[in-house]
Symmetry: C3
Subunit: 356 residues, 3 copies
């Protein structure tokens, strides 16, 4: 059974990834060919010629069309067939599916479901992208041989930091600090403050803290799989209030988790920060630190995925720290169920069944 939500925006890549060449990708098990038209618009089509199924990404661009590399059938950026060599007509069935694409803040998003339902207002955004007090820096794309739910769940799970990242993002000081959880609309949040502790490795290097700090981790998971991790540190003498985090060194680490196949996920990661603006060396330093930490996650997440493929004689257990991941998995299951049935009636009318 699928673990994918189709009617959602997923990150296909950074704007810089899309040039004039044909780019083959896969999102939610759907193979795509993507390219940027001469006018600048990025297009996403089903990567399958309807004739002999050759991926269109094996063909070539002719202007703003793609010519199949086998028999030359040619499609425009909306998937309409504009040429069938050897005949004058182009039959109606000669098309490829198109997928809606939207580009914003240097990020290319694709809507994997019904194009008519695509609403660009639903695309993740935050005001700091365009705030002069903040600097946005695109990192890289982490490829993980694990289901995307493991990857996304990990991003609303502050408790793993002490054990997976003991020398980078966490430390033993946080092992037993309780996690708070709340939900707001389509966002699930988990957070904790570690007060009056030595700075973790990351903030020894970035921010230059040496004395005790207050530090925070806020994990906000936007359905279905975009994570915003608001974390930072401030000198303990500053007596920082929870809502006053901009006074400290504050970072938003963003993770755009893209399901590729059931066993493969790409995490495009970047960050925004309120210090060291336009400081390329700081960006490079942070990328390097993130790469160390994310390699730690990758090892765990791939081992968990592998373990999930084994026969299970006993059900896994859930513990106190799992509140946010549990809410997340339930919401995903509910949305998949809704997508699987929304053709059969009014999907919003769940009260009908309950009250009848």
């Amino acid at each position: 059974m699928t673990s994918f939500i189709r009617n959602a925006w997923y990150v296909a890549g950074w704007s810089r990834d899309f040039g004039t060449d044909l780019r083959a990708l896969e999102i939610t098990g759907q193979r795509l060919v993507m390219f940027r038209e001469t006018g600048g618009t990025v297009r996403a089509l089903e990567d399958r010629c309807p004739h002999r199924l050759l991926p269109l990404s094996k063909g070539k661009r002719i202007g703003d069309t793609i010519q199949c590399g086998y028999h030359g059938m040619t499609f425009d950026g909306r998937g309409t067939c504009v040429r069938v060599p050897g005949q004058d007509n182009t039959p109606k069935s000669a098309f490829v599916e198109r997928f809606e694409v939207h580009e914003r803040h240097g990020i290319v998003w694709a809507w994997m479901g019904d194009p008519d339902l695509a609403d660009t207002d639903q695309i993740f955004d935050m005001p700091e992208f365009t705030d002069a007090g903040w600097h946005a820096h695109q990192g890289d794309a982490l490829h993980i041989r694990s289901n995307y739910l493991n990857v996304a769940e990990n991003l609303v799970d502050p408790a793993h930091v002490s054990f997976v990242h003991p020398t980078t993002l966490g430390s033993a000081a946080s092992e037993n600090v309780p996690v708070h959880v709340s939900t707001s609309g389509s966002v699930i949040s988990a957070w904790r403050w570690i007060r009056d502790a030595a700075p973790v490795g990351f903030f020894q290097k970035f921010g230059g803290f040496s004395g005790h700090v207050d530090r925070w981790h806020y994990y906000h998971l936007h359905m279905p799989s975009t994570a915003v991790i608001d974390f930072g540190s401030i000198d303990v003498a500053e007596k920082c209030d929870e809502e006053d985090r901009n006074r400290g060194v504050r970072i938003f680490a963003l993770h755009f988790v893209t399901p590729v196949r059931e066993d493969y996920t790409i995490d495009h990661w970047m960050h925004l920060r309120n210090s060291a603006l336009d400081d390329d060396a700081a960006s490079a330093q942070m990328d390097a630190m993130f790469k160390v930490a994310f390699a730690e996650d990758k090892e765990i997440l791939e081992a968990v995925h592998d373990a999930e493929q084994q026969p299970q004689r006993r059900r896994p257990i859930r513990i106190a720290i799992d509140k946010a991941p549990t809410v997340y998995r339930k919401r995903i299951r509910d949305r998949i169920a809704a997508e699987a049935t929304d053709d059969l009636g009014d999907p919003g009318d769940s009260s009908f069944i309950n009250h009848d």
Copy 2:
């Protein structure tokens, strides 16, 4: 479900491939051990000792017999057990299946079905093999990770040449030239002439054409999977008639398409030509050109096979140029169905069911 026809001759290799050693091959999913007896006859046996299943190709030759490498059971070239170490009798069930083999024109053919039905008159032949005006040159064997039907279909499909081989065997000049199709007995033919066009890359190098030529492609597919591609060029000033092709530089490219497994095919290819007879340099030059072109086919055919393994939400479409491939696939399906049912009555009497 199988895509293989069992009662057919397939090329196992060139005569030069079969010496005194034991050679392991696979044809239509049947593992074979083949070897040449001291008298010169090539033998093909099931590559499986009936005792503990070790491939006999892991054993060793003792004269014209094969001794299994595990416990020494020994079989002659007809699959009869001649020795069971540790006992005096050789039980009736101690045999391996044999397959009929025939060698002609330096080519070794194996009949993969009922030995009693093997008829060497059915083996592909053409008079030019023994015509002093023609030179035959064996090329190589191309291994392709694709079902053999994709490979064979491609060899009765002139339309792909313009797009898959734009710089070698084809050019844009032929993109819209119509394809003619006919059938005659067990041969399906597709052809077209491109009149008064610049010579393609191949005939610039071989034949030395520089001015405009008339050129032709005749694709003859002999069931189940031998292709003869009659192609050539002639100076446009010669005003060559269709049936007068020997006046030009004419080549028969032969492809013996051998199904190995459902996802693996070997194409033994060679050619005959009516010029540059006994010119080894010309042979080498043509092999080199063919290798470039066939690598182009291989990339396409493997990508198509891979795409066929994906879930399909829509059926592939057929277009005007598909006439010959469509006839071919129907004939293959009909022969598979006939093989699957021919034990149940008179397979030729299909009218019985229709009229009763």
Copy 3:
């Protein structure tokens, strides 16, 4: 269907393999994490955290406990959970399965079934381990991509030696010498003497024989998969009786065959000998000779396993030399059937069904 017997002792490794680190292994398809406690006891636990399934072998030792590498759940050497970070209680379901372990003569055994049935008296032993007239030398572990039944069967099969090891352990002189078979309790034995023949390669090198010898092979297979191969040579002039083998150069080659997965087996091999005691060079020389011979077995056993995965149109045949392997396979099948049903009543009372 499984080919594994759960209620049995299997060799997990040599004592030297188990230190303070966490060691991941797999036996009968069960993933294990093993480690040696500070007191010296070796422990084996299910290699799966009950929370998010991460293998505990990816975690770290904290004293004599293992802390999971994901969220820090911690287990002692009996699988009891001693800590769940983020909460005070440790729920009952928070445990991992433990497996009984016993260490003797430098060999670590694991019992893969019900711990309450583990009886260390059932572990294979022989008096020569502690006899000053004998030298025990641990060899290595051979990894074989084949089901363990193929590996074990091969170790109660003297007939293969002439064909698989013609230049090392066997020679053509033994090809037709009959094999004797007997059973005694849980041991199946097959043996033969080759009288008055040239020494085989092994005993030309070890023992220095050059004239004719009497040589013997006794294969004793202890259920489920421990083999003792008693083999040796003695000058033919000595007229050695069968029961007087200690007079010759005598070797016990031991094979501890551990089923890993259905398609993977590890054979820990060692030997005891009654000559060249404490002669390290002799041990090294024998290891080198064994490695050549066992590589010959490995090639055969992997090819047989591969052939078994093919569709079979005919059943394999059994021949005279198969007596011991046939008894062995039947006993394994009977024990698997007994394990599959022993919860449903008194497994010994098979007469009930027959007499009712």
